[in-house]
């Protein structure tokens, strides 16, 4: 990875007014910052096709299904439901019922290079698409486009909460059109997204790489560009995902992106096998039962489904621990700055106010 420090970066700007060449590359690098991200959910307008049994019931409805006429004790109802959220079981549901997305169609990537019996076909006809997460979230209103609440708020906090800032930097690039060997680095940025006069996210903003607290989110991998489309080599990564309540992250195995590149931005899909435990505990850690009710999202039922549908990374007992997942993403070009060195190293040498 080419590490252009700020001073060096500026000094190299001899172009007219600092203007970039038309291909958007500067010193064979280009930076991008994530501006849109959501599960790639294939939908029909009324949902009848992929959700023939309708959409899922949320906490409110499940509460009635579980407890109405059974008990009216707080400990056996509200606390029991919260306990189930914290420690979801895997036994089949009896009083509640979870609706998985049906059918063969889904957006996503072929993660394992195989065409398996449970794989999907993409709307473009590509076979072998691995995206079992679609079955989990596809019939839950919180995640359906364009404005499912969780879908909207995860994205909205991704945009407005710097904790979630996500950078993608390409180095050793000969051309944005074709280059079979480029270096790709993902990291956390520290700065707000740039906006234009209409309030839309704009290209050309600055992002500083977070080397102070975000080093766990820095990953470097190889990629190749074919006809303007970047594909990265599968890499295990984590990335921050928080709605400003808790401060969790997602863990994805064999993550890769397939992005159409332009000097102004990049868009396409990213996919990998998401760690089921980490994914699940993110749900209550960043949003509450109250919020999950916005789009009728039954957390414990989702857990059961995810465990059942998990399709990768088996543990010692042979149980799959990760589930294939695809997101649609959009990036805006950004100028990325690398600070010289972190002023303080996280984890050691931290000044202590309380412990002293």
């Amino acid at each position: 990875m080419h590490r252009a420090f700020f001073a060096a970066f500026l000094a190299s700007t001899v172009l007219a007014g600092g203007a970039q060449a038309d291909d958007g590359l500067k010193d064979r690098t280009i930076g991008y910052v994530l501006i849109n991200k959501a599960y790639a959910t294939w939908q029909t307008p009324d949902g009848k096709k992929e959700c023939p049994q309708g959409f899922n019931h949320g906490p409110r409805e499940q509460f009635k299904e579980l407890f109405e006429g059974v008990t009216d004790k707080f400990a056996e109802t509200q606390l029991a439901y919260e306990a189930e959220i914290a420690f979801p079981g895997t036994a089949p549901e009896t009083r509640t019922f979870f609706r998985e997305a049906q059918g063969p169609m889904a957006f996503g990537l072929n993660l394992d290079g195989k065409v398996g019996p449970n794989d999907f076909v993409s709307p473009e006809g590509e076979k072998g698409i691995d995206h079992q997460m679609y079955r989990v979230v596809g019939c839950t209103e919180n995640y359906r486009g364009p404005d499912g609440s969780a879908r909207h708020f995860i994205e909205s906090y991704m945009q407005k909460f710097n904790y979630n800032r996500w950078l993608l930097e390409l180095a050793d690039v000969d051309s944005l059109a074709n280059d079979d060997d480029v270096t790709v680095t993902i990291s956390r940025g520290l700065d707000p997204l740039a906006t234009d006069a209409a309030g839309q996210f704009a290209s050309g903003g600055t992002q500083r790489v977070d080397t102070r607290r975000g080093r766990e989110f820095i990953y470097t991998m190889k990629g190749r560009i074919v006809d303007g489309v970047l594909t990265t080599t599968p890499t295990d990564i984590t990335f921050p995902e928080s709605q400003q309540r808790g401060f969790p992250y997602q863990s994805v195995h064999a993550w890769r992106a397939r992005l159409k590149l332009t000097p102004e931005g990049a868009s396409g899909l990213m996919a990998g096998y998401m760690d089921v435990e980490r994914w699940y505990h993110n749900l209550p850690q960043q949003w509450s039962t109250h919020h999950r009710s916005y789009g009728a999202e039954p957390m414990p039922s989702q857990y059961r489904a995810a465990v059942r549908l998990a399709d990768g990374y088996p543990d010692a007992s042979g149980k799959n621990t990760a589930i294939s997942t695809a997101w649609e993403v959009r990036f805006a070009q950004a100028l990325i700055m690398h600070p010289d060195e972190p002023k303080t190293v996280a984890g050691k040498g931290v000044k202590t106010d309380v412990a002293r």
Binding site: E82, A83, E216, F247, H281, T289, T344, V345, K351, R356
Partner: protein, 454 residues
């Protein structure tokens, strides 16, 4: 009066207005505005919360101001005390999405509001003093109020200076929608010029600007007589300027390093804000060598050997082994909003979210932080208590089968089995409403991004 450990009791009325620079050991404590207070009342400078009002017996006073919970309002309006002897049987259902009318846990023994929160009654002839007024309860009894809000003491406070019933800290981190409507200790305002304010955080009482909550810093190279922040320095640090006709007083003075520029000094150090701090009350500036945040009083130190670790969001407190420490928080959903976060209170709430009702699982998932038998604390904020691990209840010291554990504000602290290395926060925001209502929050020391830390 029992021996007071840590706290400083001051008979406020007797003190000269110029009194300042109180200390506890070597550490200075917060100076406060001497307001007129009713006879028999006193101001106690508590270890963590700074100056609070207390009754003659040294019991800290609290208010319960109206606040919004998810689907309605609870708490008290000014001049309208509502905390009474009702024994509530069911929840309010204001905690969306759950319905009302559910029978509360341990309902047969559930106390009333005033069992937990005895009103500070006023004698029949009591008259308003300063911001203290007398309000009439529904039963006709008179009660003291501060700034209109009725005053109560807490059944949890044992010694003068204890502020176990509530804290000024958690009010900042969230609101009623997340935490339920909490009690707040009442106290006199800090003796800071109107340009400043004091924020309660875990590390102590942080000095900030009143206008926008920017944290205040001091610089090692400065002296009381001179600021040594040069041109380059001034691009990142803004001196906090004082009025031309200011009357320095108490711990506050001015320094005039450049002609015609009066800069505030606090306890003999010129003070600044950090222009690069990215969010209100950010403490990023203290990463710059030589620069420090300013506290009117620092929190008592954590147990010996405990550590602080950074992570992707900020810094957390950890035990001597580097395991992140967690606090358990709980407020119930009845109209009187009784707390459930203390080991003398119902444990069914905690058991639900820490182990699905199973104490064994609970203790495995969220182990207590075991204290050495000989462990000692110089502060009542950090203490060791004995817990029956089967019930989670507090028991007498040395009771058979009990665990000797560390407690913060008289409540046990925990670690998390999912954490693997120092700085991990896998169990932060665990439980109902991301741990704000019935669950676990990491012991946050610092937050660089802004969020709901509790």
């Amino acid at each position: 009066m029992k021996h007071i450990k840590g706290a400083i009791a001051l008979a406020a009325m007797a003190l000269a207005a110029a009194a300042h620079a109180q200390t506890r050991g070597k550490e200075p404590v917060e100076d406060y505005v001497r307001e007129p207070i009713p006879p028999g009342f006193q101001v106690i400078v508590a270890e963590l919360e700074g100056p609070v009002f207390a009754d003659a017996a040294g019991k800290t006073m609290y208010t319960w101001p109206l606040n919004a919970v998810r689907n309605g309002d609870l708490g008290e309006r000014k001049n309208e005390p509502s905390c009474d002897d009702t024994h509530y049987k069911v929840n309010t259902g204001l905690q969306s999405p759950y319905p009302a009318g559910l029978e509360l846990p341990e309902v047969a023994t559930r106390p009333s509001c005033i069992d937990y929160w005895p009103p500070v009654y006023a004698p029949a002839e009591a008259k308003a003093v300063g911001s203290f007024t007398v309000v009439t309860r529904k039963d006709g009894k008179k009660q003291w109020a501060y700034e209109g809000y009725a005053l109560y003491t807490s059944h949890l406070d044992e010694q003068p200076g204890d502020v176990r019933g509530g804290t000024k800290w958690w009010r900042k981190g969230g609101d009623g929608r997340e935490t339920g409507v909490l009690r707040v200790p009442a106290g006199p305002p800090p003796a800071v010029p109107p340009q400043f304010d004091v924020n309660q955080i875990a590390s102590g009482r942080l000095l900030v600007t009143a206008a926008n909550d920017r944290s205040i810093y001091v610089y090692d190279k400065d002296t009381a007589a001179k600021s040594n922040c040069d041109t380059a320095c001034l691009r990142e640090w803004a001196p906090v300027l004082a009025p031309e006709n200011v009357r320095p007083q108490g711990e506050w003075a001015i320094v005039e390093s450049s002609p015609s520029v009066k800069q505030w000094t606090f306890r003999g150090k010129p003070i600044y804000t950090h222009l690069l701090d990215s969010i209100p009350h950010s403490r990023e500036g203290s990463d710059v060598p030589g620069w420090h945040n300013v506290f009117t009083q620092k929190a008592p130190p954590a147990p010996k050997g405990w550590t602080v670790h950074g992570n992707r969001e900020g810094d957390v407190l950890a035990d001597a082994q580097g395991r992140t420490v967690y606090i358990y928080r709980c407020n119930d959903d009845a109209a009187d909003q009784l707390a459930c976060d203390h080991p003398t209170q119902p444990q069914v709430y905690r058991l639900a979210v820490c182990g699905k009702g199973d104490a064994v699982l609970c203790n495995k998932m969220f182990p207590y932080v075991i204290a050495d038998k000989a462990a000692k604390s110089d502060t009542r904020i950090w203490s060791t208590i004995d817990i029956d691990p089967k019930t989670g209840r507090k028991v007498a010291a040395g009771a058979p089968g009990s665990l000797h554990v560390w407690a913060y504000r008289d409540r046990p602290v925990y670690t998390c089995a999912r954490d693997k290395k120092p700085g991990d926060i896998e169990c932060d925001s665990w439980g109902e409403l991301f741990g704000m209502r019935n669950g676990f929050k990491a012991f946050w020391i610092r937050d660089d991004f802004g969020g709901y830390h509790g």
